[in-house]
Symmetry: C2
Subunit: 210 residues, 2 copies
């Protein structure tokens, strides 16, 4: 992660990070996630990230090539945590046995919790129109997520052709992406109600495919 800690991509050697630097990288990513979550990607300035991290703008650029590089690293960071999350929550076996409602709950609950715990996540993934740099930064992760959801759905609907499965995955992901900002911005019972509503939508949609 953190672009392998490299500042440049070309011939210049990557600096060998010392403990202080490793920690700084984490602090910067943490700060970036916070500001992205509050202001959105476009509106976030690199100086604001530096300030939030308690360092100078110059220091920031000793760890990251540019703003997109921060987004890239943060996206990779989230991807890793999502993988861990998925591994902990369900396996193929649990999928096979469970019915649709339980399956949706098993995925949706941790996913909502993840979004609440990581406010910067939605800023990177929940946008429908992205600036070119950001799109490239998160594209690989988007593809990974899509693949995983498609695999899940393929288990539910074994007869369907791959393109159909892909489209179903797309719709399901889009639905979650669109609802996530509303859910995280709501609070208390309204948040729960919106989450339940999203669940209903997913179940209702997926039921039709089976």
């Amino acid at each position: 992660m953190a672009g392998d800690g490299r500042v440049t991509e070309g011939t210049p050697a990557a600096p060998r990070r010392q403990a202080r630097g490793q920690q700084r990288i984490q602090e910067i990513l943490h700060a970036a996630a916070a500001v992205f979550g509050e202001q959105g990607y476009d509106a976030t300035t690199t100086n604001a990230i530096a300030k939030r991290a308690g360092i100078s703008p110059g220091s920031l650029y000793q760890f990251f090539k540019d703003k997109d590089d921060i987004a890239r690293s943060l996206a990779a960071h989230y991807a890793a945590q999502l993988t861990a999350l998925r591994a902990g929550v369900f396996t193929v076996e649990t999928v096979d046995g469970a019915d649709l409602e339980d399956l949706v709950d098993a995925v949706l609950g941790p996913l909502v919790a993840f979004n609440l715990a990581h406010p910067g996540f939605k800023a990177l993934f929940a946008r429908t129109d992205m600036p070119a740099g950001l799109r490239d930064a998160v594209a690989p992760i988007q593809a990974t997520i899509h693949q995983r959801v498609a695999d899940l759905i393929a288990l539910l609907v074994p007869d369907r052709p791959p393109e159909g499965v892909a489209r179903t995955a797309t719709v399901a992901i889009q639905l979650v992406r669109a609802m996530t900002p509303l859910i995280t911005e709501a609070e208390g019972p309204e948040r729960d109600a919106l989450t339940a509503e999203l669940r209903e939508a997913l179940v209702g949609y997926l039921r039709r495919q089976v």
Copy 2:
């Protein structure tokens, strides 16, 4: 529309537009819609709009106060056309008699056509995270759309409390908003397939509420 054609909001009198000016306003809105649709709102520069409209930057600001004012006017423009669309496509009577599938089709078909015909629409309405200026600009229209969809859903589910109807409307709208960019960007059969998939999602979701 066009902010009533006023350039300033305060005491200074609004200029009395002549035919040339009225036409310019339309040309500017048309150009803005095109560029918004291609680049997105943030990435669109006012100079690019002016160039596309074939006028100078200075001329642009004789008709619009600022960039947000253009978005506001364009949003109002779209709102008016949407109202006309709705009036032409279905009435409360048609809703009462039809079943769910037909109702969804009746709304979705023209809506997709509208988005294809007006590429700038999604740039103003389909974003999940909006800059402050844009959010304010389109908020009233969003509210109007939400109200209309809620009214429709209230007819389908008469027993439900208003908050529940509102949430269902929210989910339905979000689903359409999220899928619209994908549908407009796709072409030919893939576009049709995605549209059909969106239809399935809406029907599946709304079925559960009835």
